[in-house]
Assembly symmetry: C2
Homo-oligomer: 452 residues x 2
């Protein structure tokens, strides 16, 4: 009889695992359980749907349960796995629509439960409308369009908070972005984050930093009324909470899977749960190895989830694939600027006790005479002494963000800034000046390294 | 007494050399001779000026003779060096305005004469209006705007020919692009070049391939009348010849500088002319080391000229800087597509006897639901067996071309496609699907390598 693979979680990691297992082993029985009604949707795309950049929320779904079933993967949506018996090799599943429970046996298991929101612990937050799933986004947008709302408050100034703030501005609302931190986007160094803040303020978002959230107040019908902060009360017809997420590990912990130092599921580079034969985990719920920091991290990103899921699927079907780790690459578009980072920031270097030298340059995205040329700032972080590139941050107009991948490959392969300075990067007036901003940044950083 | 550096050629390489020498040695006397009236102009920008994307031709000039003089560099425009006496360490200079000649002594010499056009050897071509310098571009544009011209023919379908053809379309002309080759852009493999041809034809350019030029006919006043080809006679009020250039080495050869196998000035990695103390060369007139082909090449590109010039200037002033070579990176925007290449093409690999495996993918530049998403094609060339990335070609809508730099770093550092597939490249819906097209291309190429 063929083996049976059970996948817990029907989003990027889980369904990538199921799909790669399916491709590799036509005999394998594959069962995937997903608590929600959808599979494999792009949470990253939700702010653009809310903002009205496109109208059909179904486009967020890259592959439906029906499509997976047609491909031979038995996906059961609205089914929540509530317990894992590692010894007995069964999971207990609750059918959320019928309320019934059943046990299902497995030979291999992929744990891919994703992440859950971590709202700030203040009164009234729990009543705020969530906007994390396709259906929540659809409902939120319908309410936005129906209401005569004027004021919105977004709590949290990370990528998602900023993207949602922009979406609400596009919807014609007055938007206040509140964060207790001293800067937006804590993953960036302050001088780069300042440009992102400029971009947000440039479209009218009011950015309130160093501001503590104290309470979210609601009308009797449950709709938002105002947000109470350390800087006063803000009227709010809509409140979006985007203060971050944490790995969904409750089920894993109860079953006896090991959590790592970042409180995410510990896996080896084959996505195996150490010491547990045939048990894999992947995606937002696991730890990944950070190649620059040389320690585990927990990063919620679809790109890692897809790769890790695929690798788990390969290894669950007798293959041998390794996930090589991450270097913290991320990108976003915030109003008129694109922003991206890779490797480690100056702050992360300091916190990790790594001695670095940095330089930041301002340049143009195109030749000065070419239409559409605009500002770009590049910050490089290099190891003191060796000049090895350890990280980069970029902010600027169109054409800025994807340059981060050039730095990502350089960080990944251990290039020194003094070498990068002379690399054969492309030049044409529509794309850069004769020295690409990255080369200019490498040159300035090389000088800084040399000057100690 | 301070040393005296003479620079022959006042464009990118020569003036980069002069500028870096000036920065390093405030005492040095620096004399730069330029045959034309301008210094350091962007030849790459000329098609955009001709096309009317900007109106002030002076913007093509990155630094004027006056600015150089203010920086302590004695630039003499309209001065042509007509002989070099290496033994006597003098050059003979002709003042083109006065017609006088004089000898000037030097301690160090930087030879940076650039390249000269190679028109096809058919009758009438020599009468065609050149569009290589700022003044020629200005005159050409004035004639374009003044005339009631309807027809233009561009000879040569490389980057410059295509860019000029597009510029003439923007000016409202019917444009025919003629090339004797079977494809446009011979530096690309045919299946990638086909997309570039599509883009050109998409704006109405008629592309005549496998077509031999036989004669350019002119009116009695010297203005163009028609172009005679193997496919018939084409009416032509304007004819632009863009069939390539060759290194300007006449003066070097006469002086006894050594030319290499590509008939360009031979230099070592310090930009020194071997065996000649204090004699340097840089830019379009020299050979550069191709790191993938592992042989010298001659590539005319401002980015190399700038770097090599700077390095010549450093070494001419007692420093020690090395030019690490090139990998054939280039980019351009052709109508609605951007196009770029790095490393070697499949054809170059075949010609060099390198056993390679290739894959080409079609993808989207952004997430499917994000506005402005469009096609992108990526071709990767990997060494058979090892899978080491040896080259890449990209064509697609906005956001396509600059991705080539990611591949350039990967080629430069010797990354295998099987590793590249799992690199931590950025993901956000405005910039790519969850798998960047480069990762997808790497994956397909990895499979091709594995399947042999």
């Amino acid at each position: 009889m063929a083996d049976r693979l059970i996948v817990i979680g029907g989003d990027a990691a889980g369904m990538s695992a199921a799909a790669s297992a399916r491709r590799r082993d036509p005999e394998l029985e594959i069962l995937a359980f997903e608590r929600g009604p959808h599979t494999s949707y792009s949470a990253c795309g939700i702010p653009y749907f809310v903002g009205g950049l496109f109208d059909d929320a179904d486009r967020l779904i890259s592959r439906t349960p029906v499509e997976f079933r047609e491909a031979g993967i038995d996906v059961r949506t609205r089914h929540e796995v509530i317990a894992i018996d590692l010894g007995g090799r069964t999971v207990t599943v609750r059918d959320l629509d019928r309320g019934s429970e059943s046990d299902e046996g497995f030979d291999q298991l992929v744990y891919a439960t994703g992440a859950i929101a971590v709202p700030p612990p203040v009164p009234g937050v729990e009543v705020c409308e969530p906007v994390r799933t396709v259906d929540e986004a659809r409902r939120f947008r319908t309410r936005l369009e129906a209401s005569g709302a004027r004021h919105a408050v977004v709590i949290g100034s990370g990528y998602v908070g900023l993207e949602m703030a922009e979406a609400l501005v596009l919807r014609g609302l007055d938007v206040v972005l509140v964060d207790q931190s001293e800067q937006v986007m804590g993953s960036l160094d302050p001088e780069i984050a300042a440009h992102v803040q400029d971009a947000a303020e440039g479209v009218g978002i009011r950015v309130l930093l160093s501001t503590a959230l104290e309470e979210v107040r609601h009308h009797a019908d449950g709709s938002a009324r105002s947000v109470l902060t350390s800087e006063g009360e803000l009227p709010a017809d809509h409140v979006v909470v985007a203060t971050g997420v944490k790995p969904a590990t409750g089920l894993a912990e109860a079953a006896g899977l090991t959590l790592g130092e970042r409180r995410a599921v510990r896996v080896d580079d084959r996505q195996r749960c150490p010491g547990l034969e045939g048990i894999f985990a992947a995606g937002d719920c696991v730890e990944s190895w950070h190649r620059v920091l040389e320690r585990p991290v927990n990063i919620q990103l679809g790109t890692h989830a897809n790769k890790q899921g695929r690798i788990a699927g390969v290894n669950a079907t007798g293959g041998d694939a390794a996930f090589p780790g991450v270097i913290g690459t991320a990108a976003s578009k915030i109003c008129r600027y694109e922003v991206a980072r890779t490797g480690i920031s100056e702050r992360e270097a300091r916190e990790a006790g790594i001695d670095v030298v940095c330089a930041t340059i301002e340049d143009r995205t195109r030749a000065g005479y070419y239409p559409g040329s605009g500002p770009i700032w590049v910050k490089l972080v290099a190891e003191a002494g060796s000049g090895r590139l350890l990280g980069g941050q970029i902010v600027g107009v169109e054409g800025a963000a994807k340059r981060i991948d050039v730095l990502a490959v350089a960080v990944w392969t251990g290039v020194a800034v003094g070498d990068l300075e002379l690399f054969d990067l492309s030049y044409a007036p529509p794309f850069s000046g004769v020295y690409d901003p990255l080369l200019t940044a490498a040159r300035q950083t090389t000088k800084a390294v040399r000057d100690g």
